[in-house]
């Protein structure tokens, strides 16, 4: 569903540039209790590792990522880390599901997506949808329990 307000192209660009030029979560996991997953792209240079830590209640305590990535994969991976923290597994799965619907031009619930709405038009560059989902797909795998300690 569309949002109550429309992001302008300037706002989308500002969000992506912000997370690309100063990503908050781009670092290796520090400390114990993380699961991680490596993800790379066949047709692009993106090559990243994502890290996820759940607390005892099953909520995301921390999410971070590191690696080589273009603007779109950097910003999208960084934004999902922001969004995941504090979410339950079910909330996280719902978030990722809505994001994927949005990228594939299917009906979606905009409510949980927040800054990730900046990728609303990524489907216009079909070859790059994968860059917007590489981090999201990896977190999805971790959340579904494909753990690689």
């Amino acid at each position: 569903m569309p949002t109550s307000f429309e992001l302008t192209p300037e706002m989308m660009r500002a969000i992506i540039m912000d997370h690309y030029s100063s990503p908050r979560h781009k670092h290796d996991a520090e400390g114990e209790g993380y699961v991680s997953l490596h993800s790379s792209s066949v047709n692009c240079i993106d090559d990243i590792e994502v890290y996820l830590k759940l607390n005892k209640e099953g909520k995301v305590e921390d999410a971070c990522w590191n690696g080589v990535a273009c603007a779109i994969s950097t910003a999208s991976s960084d934004i999902i880390c922001d969004l995941l923290v504090g979410k339950t597994e079910d909330e996280a799965k719902y978030l990722i599901e809505q994001y994927n619907h949005m990228l594939h031009e299917e009906p979606y619930d905009a409510e949980p997506l927040e800054e990730a709405l900046a990728f609303k038009n990524t489907s216009r560059q079909a070859a790059r949808i994968h860059c917007a989902t590489i981090g999201w797909d990896a977190f999805n795998e971790l959340i579904k329990g494909h753990k690689h300690e």
């Binding site: 989308m12 660009r13 992506i16 047709n43 692009c44 240079i45 273009c70 038009n121 216009r124 070859a127």
Partner: protein, 409 residues
């Protein structure tokens, strides 16, 4: 050299093809090239009116197909200055290089032997040799490049030893477009008893080739990079070396006889290497492509691309935010980055302007450490490329601060 009149022969160039709603500007010719009508018609002729298998029938259509294969072999031989018996049809340069690596390299290399490559090689001229080294115990070594990325004969002289059995190098490198002096490299290789394997994927479509003059032992190239169909390519080999080479694939069409005891007699080259039904439509198309290129003249093609390269290099000088990695290389290839724009993002931005360029490591992944960058953007020309195409690229570069707009507007 104005070759723009040839653009009308290409449906992809004349039929109003667009990308992202913009007229298509095709600058990915190092990757593949467009097909003129004559090539498409030749393929169609085979499928519509001349379909038959080769070496099989006793009837007129099969005979006609055999004759077309022979004529194509002769056309290729004339095109590269070889004998027709030295022309092996493969599926492309990758297949050709694998045939040399496994049919010749794996047969003769011993654990004390060395294979010399460079850091600028395409994966297809690296990975088969890695595998052969693993199988035989032979060592892979690299000929040092100049700091620009050029392969100089004196650098081969520095590292070659009497243990070197294979020197496998690109005639023109696919990322930077430097042209190697194959004649001088062959002479050095031969002095030390090594064979020179030349990856001609980026040279044969663009410059006049005379294998006798180059004196390389093997030369690999693809049809689709010279206006021909995909799935057809050539391995040239000196005949005495082809005789010593084992087939990479066995099966129908390459054996003279065999019996239940496993006693097999292979055909002589080149048919020994052409097991199974060949890409016959591809051969028809390759013949048409070679005739077409020879009609334009390889010297004219080379001159035109050099002119375009000089034009583009001069224009890019006005943009200090563009880092060009190969201003002085011979080929019509520009390899560059725009400051603060990841190569892939730049390529997406160009796509949004209708411009097809390639980003990434261009299948030469060991080169990225040499260049000190993870990825580059590559724009590559052919004889049908125009100065207007380059102007479009430069104009896009001039407005590249808005590169993320590709995703929003």
């Amino acid at each position: 050299m104005d070759l723009s009149k040839f653009r009308k022969d290409f449906p992809m160039l004349r039929d109003g093809i667009t990308m992202q709603g913009k007229p298509l500007v095709w600058l990915d010719n190092a990757s593949t090239t467009f097909k003129p009508d004559c090539v498409i018609e030749a393929i169609e002729r085979y499928y519509k009116h001349e379909t038959s298998n080769s070496h099989r029938g006793d009837y007129d259509l099969a005979y006609a197909t055999d004759m077309e294969i022979l004529k194509t072999r002769e056309a290729v031989a004339k095109f590269i200055g070889s004998k027709k018996e030295e022309v092996v049809f493969t599926s492309g340069a990758t297949n050709s290089l694998n045939l040399v690596a496994f049919g010749y390299g794996a047969k003769y290399l011993k654990s004390e032997d060395e294979i010399l490559l460079t850091e600028a090689e395409h994966a297809s001229n690296v990975l088969p040799w890695f595998k052969v080294a693993e199988m035989t115990g032979a060592k892979i070594k690299y000929i040092p490049l100049t700091k620009e990325g050029r392969l100089l004969p004196e650098n081969l002289e520095k590292v070659i030893t009497d243990h070197t059995k294979i020197v496998a190098v690109a005639h023109i490198t696919n990322v930077l477009g430097y042209q190697a002096d194959i004649k001088a490299l062959s002479a050095i290789a031969h002095k030390h008893g090594a064979v020179l394997v030349c990856d001609g994927a980026q040279s044969v479509p663009h410059i006049k080739i005379d294998v006798k003059d180059l004196d390389c032992d093997f030369l690999a190239f693809s049809g689709h990079k010279l206006c021909g169909p995909t799935g057809i390519g050539v391995l040239y080999g000196k005949y005495d070396l082809l005789v010593k080479t084992d087939p990479f694939m066995t099966g129908g069409g390459m054996n003279a006889r065999f019996d239940m005891c496993g006693d097999v007699g292979f055909l002589e080259p080149p048919m020994r290497f052409e097991a199974g039904t060949l890409n016959l439509a591809g051969i028809y198309g390759l013949h048409a492509a070679i005739d077409y290129l020879m009609g334009i003249g390889m010297d004219n093609i080379e001159a035109h691309e050099r002119e375009l390269k000089a034009y583009a290099v001069a224009k890019l000088k006005d943009y200090p935010n563009v880092k060009l990695y190969n201003a002085d290389s011979e080929a019509g290839i520009l390899t560059f980055n725009i400051d603060n724009i990841f190569a892939q993002d730049a390529a997406t931005y160009f796509n949004s302007k209708g411009i097809a360029v390639r980003s990434g490591q261009h299948c030469a992944k060991i080169l990225t450490s040499f260049l000190g960058t993870l990825a580059t953007v590559r724009a590559s020309f052919y004889f049908y490329t125009t100065k207007e195409d380059i102007d479009c690229l430069v104009d896009a570069i001039a407005h590249s601060e808005d590169y993320l707009d590709a995703y929003f507007i």
